[in-house]
């Protein structure tokens, strides 16, 4: 049995069914992200695990124990909030010590643990400060130390980086991941930022309207999205219409060029039009020897972003996005120019509605 399980969770606020039949098994030491647009029920799922909301139906177990009816303060869970939520009347050290104090840990043990935690987050010298004397990033690190100090069985984070500025956000998310891996603590991380979720998670749960649309490793979610919603929410997509020429082998044509789709046999008949999608990096600039097809595209926009150059172009009757790496010896194509684009059928994504 998995370390943390949620089984058929459901939550109604009045008549509003916010979480519908949500099931998830999390292994010990795993880092799971709940990813989805605002209002899709991520926070509600997290709050049910924490014990702040009780599910209308379904159950939750932690380490084999049913905690569905357990109060929040007896679940031994560490929680980090978007709004830091440090106790303003206490110093950093007292904030970190709070959970241990509540548990009745002796003074010496508390002090040792506080020192250990402050070292872990790299704020050894700030124990005597008050929260208002710290920057946002520092406050959130203290909140992490406070949550971890009582050795919780599960760590829950609800958009802990949203209130921080971009640089701090990236460095703190890496630090959170590092600490999580060092301690091997089972973690659920809520975010609406797909890049954040993909960069630090073992697995991602993409949520849509209170249900889990897809659960999988970041690579899987990005490259093999199962629904249109997942495909669109995670990353950018180019969609094309292709015509089926042989469903059993997965042969189709796009702008007169033959391609083999990956999921043969296709549930379609000859001559049927299919909607398929392609990630921007699967359209490759230039004539590549291993590519199945070569098309010409007209560049309509060039976005130089540093290591990556994002082009907009007209290709086979569709407006597409196309990503290519910067190369110091090759300037990017100019707007209005014609470029050759290589593509392969195996990179296409077939989407369920």
């Amino acid at each position: 049995m998995s370390f943390l399980t949620m089984t058929n969770l459901e939550k109604l606020f009045g008549q509003n069914r916010v979480v519908k039949d949500f099931s998830l098994s999390v292994e010990k030491g795993e880092f799971i992200s709940l990813l989805g647009p605002s209002g899709c029920g991520k926070t509600t799922v997290l709050r049910m695990v924490a014990g702040f909301e009780s599910p209308t139906a379904g159950g939750i177990t932690i380490d084999g124990k049913d905690v569905t009816g357990l109060k929040a303060n007896s679940r031994n869970i560490g929680m980090m909030f978007q709004a830091y939520a440090l106790f303003p009347n206490m110093t950093v050290a007292d904030n970190v010590a709070f959970g241990l104090k509540v548990k009745g840990a002796p003074r010496a043990e508390r002090d040792a643990r506080v020192a250990e935690m402050l070292a872990l987050i790299g704020l050894e010298d700030l124990g005597a400060r008050f929260p208002f004397q710290l920057s946002g990033g520092q406050q959130q690190r203290v909140a992490l130390a406070r949550a971890l100090a009582p050795r919780p069985s599960v760590l829950l984070l609800d958009e802990p980086l949203s209130a921080l500025d971009a640089k701090v956000r990236v460095s703190l998310r890496n630090q959170i991941r590092q600490i999580q891996q060092d301690l091997g603590i089972t973690t659920i991380f809520v975010t609406h930022d797909q890049e954040e979720a993909m960069s630090i998670s073992d697995r991602i749960v993409v949520m849509n309207g209170g249900v889990a649309d897809q659960v999988g490793a970041p690579f899987e979610i990005y490259n093999r999205p199962r629904t249109k919603f997942v495909a669109n929410f995670v990353g950018t997509l180019n969609t094309f219409e292709v015509e089926v020429t042989d469903p059993t082998t997965g042969r189709v044509t796009l702008a007169g060029q033959g391609l083999s789709l990956p999921n043969a046999p296709l549930a379609a008949h000859v001559g049927e039009k299919l909607s398929v999608a392609l990630r921007p990096e699967a359209l490759r600039l230039g004539r590549l020897p291993d590519a199945e097809a070569l098309l010409t595209a007209k560049v309509t926009d060039v976005n130089f972003m540093g290591s990556v150059i994002r082009l907009k172009a007209d290709l086979a009757g569709a407006a597409v996005s196309l990503d290519t790496f910067n190369r110091p010896d090759t300037p990017p194509p100019v707007v209005g120019s014609e470029v050759e684009v290589s593509l392969s059928g195996r990179d296409f994504i077939l989407l369920q509605a």
């Binding site: 924490a50 560490g78 106790f87 509540v102 208002f132 004397q133 829950l156």
Partner: protein, 260 residues
Amino acid sequence: MTRFFAWGTFLLGCVFFALPLIGMTEFSLKMRRGEYSFDAYRRVFEDQRFWDTFSYSLILAAATIVVGVLLVVPTAYWVRLKLPQARPVIEFITLLPLVIPAIVIVFGYIRLYNTSSFLPLTGSALGTDILLTMGYTTLALPYMYRSVDTGLRTIDVATLTEAAQSLGAGWVTILARIILPNVMVAVLSGAFLTLAIVLGEFTMAALLNRPAFGPFMQLLGANRAYEPPALAVIAFAITWGCMGLMQLVTRFSKHERAKA
């Protein structure tokens, strides 16, 4: 022109409030014929009853503050956390003491808790003191509730509560270690207001026949000429002292926060 009128009105207001005070203070200094002196004040301070009633009222004020804090802080906290829709109702209830005269409350008390009732509180001095403390708590309720509720508005009650809960804290710990320390300034200003109210209260103490400061002021006023204004000046000084302390506490805490 508008400035002129604004200042004019302001000055008129000052005169309206200040003249009686100046007159009273001047009169209180005229006990000795032909010269100003503090004789009236000395008389007041030499009167043992002044000290007895004053310390009695101070003790009751302290008890009132403790009861008020224990009653109001958890209530205001709970309403903010769990029953935000009940806030108008609670606010209305806390305003009732301003509408219902103290004499009505005290007659109600005497009827309910007289010596032949199920809870004969008026039968003993301690019982009556408890009753009086409850009465004072009621009178101070509007002020105490408002200042604590305002204090709670400055912190994120819900998130702090949840943070503490996830760390294993129960309700008593949350109230005592998180909520109360964070609304201490508000509680203190409520406490000073309570002190001022209790020191000046007459009706309840007189009708319950307890030796409080209010009835003593009245007694002195009925029998003497120069001492009552002296006592009034002292009472004013105490009240203003309370208000000054309130300002100081508020300003001090603002200063603390501004250093951030």
